[in-house]
């Protein structure tokens, strides 16, 4: 049984973007703060701090969650993937490529959360309907795009991932 007073730190060991990691955190630190401040992974954004906008979305054991509502101590023994964990050696994940291709990024603030929510959907449901896509990103707010390009980007990513790649530009 772990018992950590406010003057002490909680030691957590977890997998972060595929790497086993250990860090000491304050008892009341949010996962969002630890990712941004302790690890410098600022791709995860704070849009509201109360779980209403999805800008802070990360994947916890493969499932999208609002990192502003997760106590850092709770990820001990679990797997966390942030937006930085999607690209490998600088090569963008198909979902990221699709977002660029379909101009689904304007200011970019919602994008990390949207991309992770979309990736989690495609991991479970490789060929989602438009309705399923909209439901999968229903926890992510976007003030710029009106969502249409985002849905299209997920459809494009789905085609890329299931092998129906579109010919043409590799932007």
């Amino acid at each position: 049984m772990q018992e950590v007073r406010h003057t002490e730190r909680v030691s957590i060991s977890f997998t972060l973007n595929g790497r086993p990691t250990q860090v000491d955190v304050k008892p009341n630190s949010r996962l969002l703060d630890v990712l941004r401040d302790d690890f410098g992974l600022t791709g995860t954004k704070e849009g509201c701090g109360v779980g209403e906008c999805g800008a802070c979305t990360v994947l916890l054991d493969g499932e999208p969650v609002n990192s502003c509502l997760v106590l850092a101590a709770q990820v001990d023994g679990h797997e966390v993937v942030t937006i930085e964990g999607l690209s490998v050696d600088g090569i963008l994940h198909p979902v990221q490529q699709a977002f660029i291709k379909e101009t689904a990024i304007q200011c970019g603030f919602c994008t990390p959360g949207m991309v992770l929510a979309a990736k989690a959907l495609l991991d479970k449901n490789p060929s989602p309907s438009r309705e399923e896509i909209r439901r999968a990103v229903s926890g992510n707010l976007c003030r710029c795009t009106g969502y249409e390009q985002i849905v299209r980007a997920v459809e494009t990513a789905s085609r890329m991932l299931t092998g129906f790649a579109e010919g043409g530009d590799d932007r």
Partner: protein, 352 residues
């Protein structure tokens, strides 16, 4: 405010902790309510969902004589129970469905068992927040937080659900069972003592052919607190008559309650559009009787009537095939638009 963190490895450990320090502890499961409450400007955390024990708290906040250091500022313990896997399961027994308190809304809404045997609960859980919230929020937390707008509560009431509540006593875990309707006593108030934990929810499975539904209205289609909702459950006899029915609105009363006057309109009768309208009107009247006439009544009464028409039509099998269910979650592939069309027909026929 100072926070300590405690993570029990088992239910008995958790309960032993609460027996000692329940009054200085907030239980953390999914965190979708607690993590928001921790940010509230009032600074001191008010224990909302636990019964305040006389003498342990001063005024509205935690602080008097608490366990902090020399400054006298108290420490609140955040007890993280998210690791108690024994509380996560969903199981079917001969006479009941048992859902662990830590089952998430995602898991409950996707569970074949729940969709088949307790559809209204699957629909209610599917309507909470968005995917990220549903992946963390738990049924135990939704009950214990006891928001008057909580989505699981009306569904649990019409399903006649009971909560199993545990505490540490006489050197062992002791469990008592009480109806969910009795556990929630008012807005953000429950009958839970500070040393108690909800461990599971039990839904009786007495009528295999019962239908249930949960219809919710929010300001948006997702990420929306329930503005008004209606849960309904019904059993029909072989000749089609209503043998049993339960109706419970959400976000309409200080605590969730069945509207028996509306139920009586339907009992023993053959379903018909007229009957649905009359029962729905009774729901509206009953709501106003409970809450009194308010500024919102002019809006809420026709809306709760409309939601009641849809929920009642769904559980009486009146809609187009499988028309129960709000957007995005229909236990039998329901036709939400069909329900709206039926509702429109009923409205026109009744000259509204």
């Amino acid at each position: 405010m100072r926070y300590g963190y405690v993570r029990p490895d088992s239910l008995p450990e958790a309960l032993r902790w609460l027996a000692q320090r329940g009054s200085e502890t907030r239980v953390l499961a999914g965190g979708t309510d607690l993590m928001v409450q921790l940010r509230q400007k009032s600074g001191d955390l008010v224990i909302k969902s636990r019964v305040l024990e006389p003498g342990t708290l001063a005024g509205d906040g935690i602080g008097a004589g608490g366990g902090g250091g020399g400054t006298g500022e108290a420490q609140i313990w955040l007890m993280d129970i998210s690791g108690l896997s024994e509380l996560r399961g969903i199981s079917e027994f001969v006479d009941r469905l048992e859902i662990g308190a830590l089952a998430t809304h995602t898991r409950i809404s996707e569970s074949i068992l729940v969709r088949q045997r307790a559809c209204a609960l699957a629909e209610a859980c599917a309507s909470i927040g968005g995917p990220q919230i549903r992946n963390r929020g738990t049924i135990g937390g939704n009950i214990a937080n006891a928001s008057p707008a909580a989505d699981t509560l009306p569904a649990l009431v019409v399903l006649d659900a009971a909560a199993a509540v545990a505490r540490w006593e006489d050197g062992r875990v002791k469990v008592r069972e009480l109806p969910v309707a009795g556990l929630v006593t008012g807005p953000y108030q429950t009958a839970l003592a500070s040393d108690e934990l909800i461990v599971s929810v039990r839904i009786p499975l007495l009528a295999a052919e019962a239908r249930s539904a949960y219809i919710k209205l929010g300001r948006r289609n997702a990420m929306s607190i329930s503005r008004l909702a209606v849960a309904a459950w019904a059993v029909l006899a072989d000749d089609g008559r209503v043998t049993d029915v339960r109706i419970c609105p959400g976000s309409a009363t200080p605590r969730p309650m069945r509207f028996s006057q509306a139920e009586k309109v339907l009992l023993g009768k053959l379903p018909s559009a007229d009957l649905v309208v009359e029962a729905a009107r009774t729901v509206g009247d009953a709501m106003v009787a409970v809450t009194g006439v308010r500024w919102s009544t002019e809006y809420k009464r026709p809306v709760v009537e409309a939601l009641s028409r849809r929920a009642i039509a769904a559980v009486l099998g009146l809609g187009p095939a499988g028309s129960a269910g709000p957007r995005g979650s229909c236990c039998d592939g329901g036709d939400r638009d069909g329900l709206r069309r039926l509702d429109g027909v009923i409205e026109r026929e009744n000259g509204r």
